[in-house]
Each structure stands twice: as C-alpha cells, then as structure tokens.
Symmetry: C2
Subunit: 277 residues, 2 copies
C-alpha cells in the first residue's frame, strides 16, 4: 500500500450531479476508477436517506461498482466495527454537506475518525463538499454572517477534523458573498490561509500543493501579507481594518503551494502570456 497520503478533494458545494459531473468523476478517478471502493458518509446532514440515495445514484451512473453510504446519528455508530471495516476497505470516502459541527461532534475521537486519518495517510482519497469541505481544516468556520464587511463577531470558529493544517476553508464562496467572513476568520491568526471555494469548484490537494477543478475559482486570502490591521485590542463587533491582504484568484487548472504561500505558475503559461502582451 502506498505511503503517500491520498488526495483531498475539497468541494465548494453544489457540485454538478446531473451533467458532466466533472468533480465527482475526478474524485472517482483518483480513488481507482471503476474499481474504486467508495463510502459516502452522510453524518453532516439531517436527511441522510435522501442525500445518501442521491450520491449512490450518481456514483453508480459514473460507473463505480462498489459504493455504499453510511450515516452516523450517534457516537456509538461511529465506533462500530462494521463502520471501521468499511473505511479500512475504502479507496475513497466522500463527506456530504450539512452541518460541519455534526461531523466533528459525532466523529471526533471515534474509531471512524482514527480509521479515516490512518487510511488517508496510506493513500485513501478523501472528498467533502460544503460542510464536508469546511471540516477538512484544523480550524473551521461553523457560523458566520454573509454579505457584510469583516468584524470578528460575525464569524464563529471551532476545531475541524485536521486533514489540512494552516488553512481556513469557506465554501459557496462567491455565491454567498463570503469575503467578509473569511477575512474575519483568517485575520485573527494570519498564519492561516483563507481558501474560499466557489460552488461546483474544488481544490485537489496533495503534498501541500493543490490544483483547481470545476466551474468557479478558489480565492486564496493571505493575511500574512498584512501591512496594518487594527486587530490588537479590537472588540467583537468593532469593524476590522486590514491593509495589504494578498488575494489570489485561481480558476480551473491553476495551482497553489500552501507551504510556500504562492501560486505555482507554469513556466509555459507565463511565457505564453508574456509573448502575447
């Protein structure tokens, strides 16, 4: 078995399930194609049957033979032998949307949690959409006011499942006007890079580098570049002032290195652009 950690497919929600299914197909391809063994975990949603059935249908249509769902409605489920066995066997695990707090509350510290980390380190592909994307980081946004300017008080954070260190992820990013809330989150600890993922868009991460796939963009917010902020001493509902935040807008095909905090521009692309300009 490979000892390179598997890819992480982090989806901004509302991924296409009826048409080309570009993102879900890429997840399946990474997980082994037709021979993939996929487990869909519906723990985040309160409609596990409906949501589970929808993904069973789409993965079946894509041509995965071995796909199953399982729900976790209490922590007992999350310690069951059969659940752990399913994860042990899986080549790809998919987390649906819902509420990210359900994921960490119900799975945190259980046998499934341990199995997911172990298997991911061995090469299992892990995907998540919407709430399933948010939970990937060490610190996650659990609540936040959209469509407002940044203020510390508009965003609530909590520990995530720790698959990706050093980032805070937000989803439905452009569609729900979440710039202010993601800025509010990363400003509090500017070491964190903010990753705003649009709907039907995903980042595929391995070894600190991700590539974007899908229809929208991933917006990387680097508050480490700050030249000034009014954060020290700021109270919860004071307005944030942030000067010199660096912003990278990365549509499909573009790459970013999280460790270096820089986009990875292919030499050919740069050259082509220079020739044309």
């Amino acid at each position: 078995m490979s000892q390179t950690p598997g890819h992480l497919v982090v989806i901004g929600g509302a991924e296409d399930k009826k048409g080309e299914c570009k993102i879900l197909r890429e997840f399946v391809r990474l997980a082994g194609g037709p021979h993939a063994r996929i487990v869909v975990i519906t723990v985040a949603t309160e409609l596990p049957l409906e949501v589970g059935a929808e993904y069973l249908e789409v993965f079946d249509r894509i041509g995965v033979e071995d796909v199953r769902t399982f729900d976790v409605s209490n922590r007992e489920n999350a310690n069951s032998v059969s659940a752990v066995k399913a994860i042990e066997k899986a080549t790809g695990v998919f987390f649906t949307g819902g509420d990210q707090v359900r994921i960490t509350n119900l799975l945190g510290g259980t046998k499934i949690d341990a199995a997911l980390h172990k298997r991911h380190e061995e090469g299992m592909v892990l995907a998540g959409t919407s709430a399933g994307a948010s939970m990937m980081s060490t610190t996650m946004i659990i609540e936040g006011v959209p469509e407002t300017n940044p203020r510390i008080g508009i965003v609530e954070m909590a520990p995530g499942m720790e698959f990706i260190p050093g980032v805070v992820i937000d989803q439905h990013f452009a569609q729900r006007g979440r710039l202010g809330r993601l800025l509010s989150a990363v400003a509090q600890y500017p070491h964190h890079l903010g990753l705003g993922i649009d709907e039907n868009t995903a980042l595929v991460l391995q070894n600190h580098e991700f590539v974007v796939i899908g229809d929208g963009a991933v917006t990387v917010i680097d508050a480490g570049a700050l030249i000034y902020s009014n954060l020290p001493g700021l109270r919860k509902n004071d307005d944030l002032a942030l000067c010199g935040v660096a912003l990278h807008i990365l549509p499909a095909g573009y790459r970013f290195n999280l460790r270096e905090r820089t986009p990875v521009i292919e030499k050919d692309a740069t050259k082509a652009d220079r020739t044309r300009s």
Copy 2:
C-alpha cells in the same frame, strides 16, 4: 469663493434616512450646514417624484432650509437655464440611485454637466448614492453579474462623469457579493483602483485622499500589485486568474491616498496597535 474642489461624498447605497442619518448629515455639514443650498438630482431613477420627496423630507428633517429636487427626463431639461441656475447657486448636489447610464446619457455634455464640474471645482460638494456613486469615476460599471468568480464577460463598463480619475467604483459591495465583478473590471486596466463601497457607507474624498464614514467598509482592490494574470489573450467568458492582488479593508475613520495607492495610517493608531500587540 474657494478654489479648492469640493468634497465628493460617494455612498454605497441604502444610506440611513430614518435614524441618525450619519452620512447625509455629513454631506449637509460639508455643504454648509443649515445654510446649505442643496439640489437633489433624480435623473438616475424612473421614480423621480417618490425618490425626490423622500430626500426632501430627510434633508428638511436634518435642518436644511434651502433644498430642492429636479429631475431630468430628457436632454432638453439638462440644458435649461433654470436648472443651470440652481446648480450655480447650490453648495451641495446630491445624485440619487437608479441607473447610472441614465445619468451619463441624459447629462453628458449638457449645460448641467458643465455647471456641475465648474461648481465642484469651485468648492461645491457633490454626493451620490448607488448609481450616483458609480457615475463619479472616469470608467464606470453599468452591468455585471454578482456572486460569481471573475470573468471579463461578467462586467460591462462605460464612460462615467469623470469626477474621480483612476478608479472604478462599485456599490452595495459586501451585500451583493460583488468582489468578482469589481475584480473583473479593474483587472482589465490595473491602473484603476477598485473601490467597493458597502451599503450605508461612504467615502469622503478631497485632494486624492478619502476617509470612510458609515457602518460598513470600503474595500480597495489594487490589481497594480499583480504578480501574474492570464489576461493577455483571454476571451470574454474565460475565467480570470489573478495572483497577488492587494486588498485593503477600510472601515469608518480609515483613510486612503488614491495617488499613492496606500492607506494613510495615523501614526498614533499604528503606535497604539504596536504597543498592544
């Protein structure tokens, strides 16, 4: 009469008209307080009577004795002697919201247009909200898809009334998720600074420097800082890749120098923050 150009009060729409009326009061104060002579121009809206009556009521409540509205429904109106006389006498002119194209189409090159520029250069205060804010710049956004990632095709631009060179203004900024469309606008000519003004928020500009007032923030987008873009050769609906855009989030009280392209941080503020951190 002063030969310093008057202040420009550029409002992101939906300014408070029932409560404290902070922004409208500041406009009145700059225009001379109770002795101000205010003209409200309703050219942008197709409901000039309703909109005009609303502003008459609020300026009256604030204590302005001399306030009148006038509408321009055709270019003939915009060349009338009485209209020009009203502008000549005004210490403050206020443009309501509506459609910014109506402003430039009906006023562009008319006697009112000339009178506005002349009087503004002599010190008359000029304010505009929403469409009345957009028209202030040399190039203005006239149409754009909100809540999407940047693509050139999502934003249409046209000449503005040229009161503020070197910027593109967008309003209702956080509330309508307009980061993508403003990025699409400024990326095309990164000399332009993007100014995204939130609702019930304004920038007050004089001599290349503005200060923010109101409840939200002004987001300054400086694509001049770009380290990479895929713009050369890009087609209308291709996704934009933009790396290294600088972002400044400025709530009430913060200042920015448009010519220097930098926030103006008060020495005391910086010192206080440093001491606390």
